[in-house]
């Protein structure tokens, strides 16, 4: 599984992206988030720091109920922001 980080999530983890092996028993985005937190303190902090970390699976916004697998491209990022216009 490829996982991408953006904005302050990227700064906090210190990487643009990582490659993981997703345990086969994890089949939903919600389960993925719980598992992701167990990978280390920084990972737990990213998820715990805010209710607002968003997720995309294969470049589409995803919620906890969405299906996930080891072949997916996953991204974690804060809510999007543009210009102040």
């Amino acid at each position: 599984m490829k996982i991408l980080y953006f904005a302050w999530v990227r700064d906090k983890i210190g990487l643009d992206s990582e490659e993981f092996d997703l345990p086969s028993e994890i089949v939903t985005a919600g389960e993925f988030i719980e598992w992701f937190k167990t990978r280390g303190d920084t990972y737990a902090e990213v998820i715990g720091a805010s209710d607002t970390v968003k997720m995309a699976i294969n470049q589409e916004y995803a919620g906890p109920e969405n299906a996930i697998s080891n072949e997916d491209e996953v991204a974690l990022f804060p809510p999007v922001t543009g210009g102040k216009y």
Partner: protein, 149 residues
């Protein structure tokens, strides 16, 4: 047409290209978003837009398709920049062309409202001594919600 690029764009050239050869276009509505100074804070030196290549284009295409399904648009265009931008620089151009102005205005406002809440761009503001990632703006979420009323 969807374009995501680091370079600046020429509004006049882009709008001319949008309407060329189609005499059933009666009106073109466009919106240009610029890097704005914050008079309430210390002076903004620059902002940096980070984006998610691939997903950005997908989301912009989805938003554009949705606009075409809601309004009779003859043509539309979204150009969005990323990278480091100074105050006064152009960030985004959204334009819609239609036989009548009402569809053009509504389609254009829809595109920019949705773009601001859906397209995966993140902004870091540079105030010289301090740089900070900016959170989402509640006002933008409200602007998107009205389209579902």
């Amino acid at each position: 047409m969807i374009i995501v690029q680091r370079e600046d764009f020429e509004v006049g050239i882009e709008l001319k290209r949008l309407t060329e050869g189609n005499n059933e276009i009666g009106g073109v509505c466009s919106f240009i978003g610029l890097v704005r100074d914050s008079p309430e804070k210390e002076s903004l030196e620059a902002m940096t837009l980070q984006h998610y290549p691939g997903m950005t284009e997908k989301e912009l295409n989805r938003i554009d398709d949705e606009a075409h399904s809601r309004w009779p648009l003859e043509a539309s265009l979204i150009i969005h920049r990323y990278g480091r931008l100074q105050p006064g620089e152009q960030i985004v151009l959204v334009a819609t062309a239609s036989a009548h102005r009402k569809a053009a205005f509504e389609g254009c406002e829809f595109l920019i409202d949705f773009l601001k809440t859906r397209a995966p761009f993140w902004k870091k503001e540079d105030y010289g001594l301090v740089t900070e990632w900016v959170g989402s703006l509640e006002a933008d979420n409200r602007a998107t919600e009205k389209w579902y009323e």
